[in-house]
């Protein structure tokens, strides 16, 4: 990065540190923070829409759909989320390859499961073995995002379902009295009012989602935990920047990063709550109305 970094063996003190912290692998480390943020930014809305769909399904008057919604929301309650993470990544991968196998190689005779092997025809492999490295990484990351979205969607469905039930019944009855159809009542009356009841639960969920991002490491994404372990491990003099085991400091840095992230989120969510409370038929909304009057 800097011109004096050409020969790190001759450097000492701060100069060495500045070169060390800006070398190529560290740039990858810093980029992995961006990766985590991007994954979060994609996962959160996807999980929210899964949750919304789950809550809508649970409220459905068509029994099979309602059961589906209920099962989906109930499944995360008793089982550790990390078990779901480990399960879905393999299950989704095998499921996709199985589907492609049946679609692409109808005359493949051998069974797919042979003892401890899962064999599909080469055309059905995902991603293709000839694909460049970047596709493998994107495929892994999308599997991870989808897995996160399924699990957190179930939590969100629970919260949103509760919030929909918390909207005062009179509001819906009034809407019906004005001649609104079920659909109109849902979209114009229920959904706009539901968010303030869902917000405490969803804020909590956002915090949990942030704190779940290091688990991406377990799903094979090269995230900040992966790089912290890689970079922190002791390096012999074969490397350009030899140093003893510094993993403690790297993890300390990650800890501080997460503390700052959750703190900032907390402040932002408090502001959002205040904003959303405006004009609502809740205690907080009433307090704001009185303060303004």
């Amino acid at each position: 990065m800097f011109s004096y970094c050409a020969d790190p063996k001759t450097l000492e003190g701060l100069a060495w540190l500045s070169c060390y912290l800006t070398n190529g692998v560290h740039m990858k480390f810093y980029w992995s923070f961006v990766t985590v943020l991007v994954l979060l930014a994609i996962t959160a809305p996807v999980a929210l829409s899964f949750g919304f769909a789950g809550a809508m399904a649970s409220r459905s008057h068509f029994p099979p759909l309602a059961w589906l919604g209920r099962i989906y929301t109930a499944m995360v309650r008793g089982v550790p989320d990390i078990a779901f993470f480990l399960f879905f990544v393999i299950a989704l991968d095998q499921g996709l390859e199985w589907l492609r196998h049946h679609a692409m190689c109808p005359d493949w005779k051998e069974p797919i499961r042979q003892g401890a092997n899962f064999l599909v025809c080469p055309e059905a492999k995902l991603p293709q073995s000839s694909a460049p490295q970047i596709w493998h990484e994107i495929y892994n990351a999308s599997l991870a995002i989808f897995t996160f979205a399924i699990v957190f969607g179930a939590f969100a469905a629970n919260v949103i379902y509760g919030a929909m039930n918390a909207v005062p019944k009179e509001q819906l009855e009034t809407a019906h009295a004005y001649g609104m159809s079920n659909r109109q009542t849902f979209w114009r009356i229920l959904v706009p009012q539901m968010w303030i009841y869902a917000l405490p639960g969803l804020s909590n969920l956002w915090m949990i989602l942030i704190k779940a991002t290091p688990l991406l490491f377990l799903l094979g994404v090269q995230d900040i935990v992966y790089w912290a372990r890689e970079l922190g491990g002791s390096k012999t003099s074969v490397f350009a920047y030899p140093h003893p085991d510094w993993r403690l400091y790297y993890f300390l840095f990650l800890l501080v990063f997460y503390l700052a992230f959750t703190r900032v989120s907390e402040i932002a969510l408090t502001r959002l709550t205040r904003k959303l409370s405006r004009g609502q038929a809740t205690m907080a909304g009433e307090a704001q109305r009185k303060a303004a009057a």
Binding site: P80, I82, A83, A91, F155, L248, F251, Y258
Partner: protein, 279 residues
């Protein structure tokens, strides 16, 4: 090997008893059920001990956070903030790396007439190191729950206690503390459930599974690796955990009934599993 022999060989494998080698080929359903069940013993061990010890630290922390004195309040606030604001996964990694760097010292001491030989090496083993992290972590989460409950103890209760001449320790032990527990109990039940779930992280986060002695999820991922079939071991783990969750809810429900026994029926707060309280 018949199923009963498998059970005899692997039932306590997670604690290093019985067969030394894990099944490698031709893995049967019986082996999976037995070994994953054996791993559940570790989840129980971590969960029960961390909860039991954490309960007392959490009470202390909640009181400290509620204190007027900043020398008590600030450390408690920071402790709770650090452990609640950062991922447990990172805490495990950090603790492990810190414990590894500790100098290796051993101390001998007598306890109940038996000579013990404790070394700092134990801290790098999951049974002690991870237990300490889980203990501190659950203390922080429970302390926040208890603190919230402490803040909502009815003012009238306190005034009534004053009127009856109760003060200090007696007032706390007989009035404030039971009410605090009663108010906090539904949320604390959730915390207990999620603590048991969090115990599955131990063997995936720095702490190595020494001699392949791991928890339920460790064995499940072992089987998923060996058979390349996730559809058997993970549902098994799920089944075990659902049973565990139901047991926790039952036990905590019994305590809840006892805490609420003086209240009229209609006022009793039933426990509802609401993920608003997830950690």
């Amino acid at each position: 090997m018949s199923c009963w022999e498998t059970v005899q060989a692997y039932a306590f494998r997670s604690f290093g008893l019985g067969e030394r080698l894990l099944p490698k080929a031709d893995i049967t359903l019986c082996e999976q059920v037995t070994l994953i069940g054996s791993g559940m013993l570790w989840n129980l061990y971590f969960g029960v001990l961390a909860l039991a010890a954490g309960f007392f630290l959490a009470t202390g922390l909640a009181l400290a956070k509620n204190a007027q004195n900043p020398w008590l309040r600030k450390p408690a606030e920071w402790f709770i903030f650090v452990f609640r604001g950062s991922p447990l996964f990172i805490q495990f990694f950090l603790a492990y790396e810190a414990f590894v760097l500790l100098p290796k010292v051993g101390v001998e001491f007598m306890l109940f007439g038996i000579e013990f030989n404790a070394t700092t090496k134990w801290l790098t083993r999951a049974w002690l190191g991870a237990l300490i992290v889980l203990f501190l972590n659950t203390s922080a989460y429970s302390a926040e729950i208890f603190y919230g409950a402490l803040r909502s103890v009815p003012k009238g209760d306190q005034e009534a206690a004053d009127a009856y001449g109760l003060s200090g320790w007696h007032k706390f032990r007989r009035i404030t503390w039971p009410t605090m527990l009663r108010l906090a109990w539904p949320a604390y039940t959730n915390e207990a459930i999620f603590l048991f779930h969090a115990t599955t992280l131990v063997y995936f986060s720095g702490f190595p599974a020494w001699k392949q002695m791991g928890d339920a999820l460790y064995y499940a991922s072992y089987f998923a690796d060996k058979t390349f079939n996730p559809f058997v071991p993970y549902p098994l783990v799920a089944g075990y955990f659902i049973v565990l969750t139901l047991i926790v809810i039952t036990l905590f429900g019994m305590v809840n009934r006892r805490l609420n026994r003086h209240l009229p029926q209609a006022q009793k707060k039933r426990f509802r599993f609401r993920p608003q309280w997830i950690r």
